[in-house]
Symmetry: C2
């Protein structure tokens, strides 16, 4: 049995530490693991399967003899290092936005478009967290009735902005409880000019603004969904309208999803529930009588996408609402990344083709 | 000039204390104010215009010689006392859901359907908080282009569940920060069987569940909006699809509003912004380049409805998104209630007709 040398780029971050955990739990036969990070974090000691591993500073040479790279150190690091890794024969699964819309890079959620990995050129991209949980929930609907339009409003947890953002959210909450003025250095976007408190607040800005008034996070939900859905179905891409809002939750994104299908005769609320019950990667939590519905505090730590509050629009037959929650650091990031790597191993695709990315 | 005896029913609650403040600031010439509450709160001393006022237990006789009642003590108290008040010659503005859908009771947001107060029979209802701020923002659109459909997802503050709910949210946040397990006795609905923490969480349940799987809060947004809009426009009612979610914010509801208009030729994003700029009760906060958009922490204490993040749907010309925030205890409750009372005074409508409510 082939065993793999795996490198985790960005091993010390909120997603990085979860990449280590998910890799430990995965079906991938790991020969050795290499934990890479920026110079600042080098020397830190983390554990893999109970063994100490010293974090090393990432350099192009770090990827010599590496088979699989799992990357979550930011877009700039991925752009710099992943082509170097591929050149050295490694296959990289990237959790940043660096390569997602690159036509040479498959954008993959295994439950939705697993087959897209067959054509990889060394880099496979992991979609944005808010996109992943939505397409997992929409896939069984698309298969049965076809999707015409999706209108989504997100309720995104602070941990999406990284480890330091989690600390800032807690600090702001304590300031508020102490009757002090809340201070902000990270939210909504660290690199932005202005910062606002997230605790006890709502920030309708995730990532930077585009020309058309949407945020880049909203743009991602629209365009990544089309790329993932088209990749699988070869159909006209579904219309997507997204509004992304950061909420004072640490872990677990919520999404209020309205969808209109092509063929409304194929669905009833009971059928939608059945599809979710049997959907890959989905746990149905939909029992209003017993107040059962998805909640972030219950989703934390799970790699499932939780779906509930399924209703047909009384005035628009064929249109439905659902409420989708998932751990944004797991299925939204680390778990999906490792799952892609598992599929690469399963289908013996951990090999870089002659015409590799960037050649 | 006529002066008015004003009674506030439910004076000690989260909305009640704000009713006192809004009445102090109002244009209503107040002769005397009577503060009424349940037996439990009777004897408490509050202030009106710097004078001590002892809270009295509400009884039917409390309303003798009262001209205007402002009620926010819960639906049961309104059902019990308001017909008694009207019988005694008082006009009541009710902030509970008790009479909202009663065909004999106007449901009023002054910026939208002020004229509905002309036909009152002694009771005028104040709509649900989440409905008010939405219809304020939609009214200028309806007037210019006609509304076909609205799809709204709410982000509702904990204070909508009352004063004790605010304390519970703070307590849960402190538990979380102390590393303790969060406890819950109030959210999502005090009378419900199960309670869940709101701090660091999202609860897609506000009020009880209906037969069709929607919550009563969602039902209110659909049906109250139709009643308010139809009352004003005599047109076919707009289609409304609502998803209501409680978020860990103390004050200020956010709403992600998608709307489709009848005549898309009448609107552009610039035109929508202009309509909001000039709209009654609306403050436009829409400058992405400078990260200006509505936020609950900035809306707190204001009676305005704040609108921003205005965008046209790139794939559905004639459909737009906007982000609407308002202080749910002010425009969503106390301020709108007092504003209705001001209009009653302005148009000399503080008189009960011969065919009064319940006669």
């Amino acid at each position: 049995m082939r065993e793999y040398n795996v490198a985790i780029l960005g091993a010390t971050g909120a997603v990085g530490t979860r990449l280590i955990e998910q890799l430990e739990k995965s079906s991938i036969p790991v020969k050795a693991v290499k934990l890479l990070a920026s110079k600042r974090s080098a020397g830190k000691v983390l554990q893999f399967n109970g063994q100490d591993v010293v974090v090393e500073e990432a350099t192009p040479e770090s990827f010599d003899d590496v088979d699989i790279v799992l990357a979550s150190a930011g877009g700039a690091a991925s752009k710099k290092f992943l082509p170097e890794a591929v050149k050295r024969g490694a296959v990289a699964v990237d959790n940043t936005s660096a390569f997602r819309m690159d036509p040479e890079v498959p954008l993959v959620v295994p439950e939705v478009n697993e087959k897209a990995i067959y054509d990889h050129k060394g880099i496979i991209a992991n979609p944005n967290c808010s996109t992943i949980q939505m397409v997992v929930a929409l896939k069984p609907i698309e298969d049965v009735a076809g999707l015409k339009q999706v209108i989504v409003s997100t309720y995104q947890a602070g941990s999406g902005a990284g480890q330091t953002a989690i600390a800032e959210l807690d600090h702001q909450a304590q300031q508020h409880l102490n009757g002090e003025k809340m201070t902000a250095d990270i939210f909504p976007v660290k690199s932005a000019k202005k910062h606002y408190p997230l605790a006890y607040n709502l920030l309708p800005q995730i990532d930077v603004f585009e020309e058309d008034g949407s945020t880049h996070e909203e743009w991602k939900m629209v365009h990544e969904t089309k790329k993932i859905m088209e990749g699988d179905m070869n159909s006209d891409a579904v219309k997507v309208n997204a509004t992304c809002v950061r909420v004072p939750v640490v872990i677990g994104h919520g999404e209020s999803v309205f969808f209109e299908v092509e063929d409304s005769s194929k669905l009833t609320p009971a059928k939608v529930k059945e599809l979710m019950q049997n959907g890959a990667g989905i746990t149905l939590q939909d029992d209003p009588d017993n107040q059962i519905y998805p909640q972030p505090i219950n989703a934390e730590g799970s790699t499932q996408t939780f779906v509930g509050r399924i209703r047909e629009d009384q005035e628009n037959p064929g249109s439905y609402n659902m409420w989708v929650v998932s751990d944004n650091l797991l299925k939204g990031a680390a778990a999906n990344t490792v799952q892609i790597a598992e599929k690469l191993v399963e289908h013996d695709l951990v090999r870089v083709p002659a015409e590799y990315y960037g050649k």
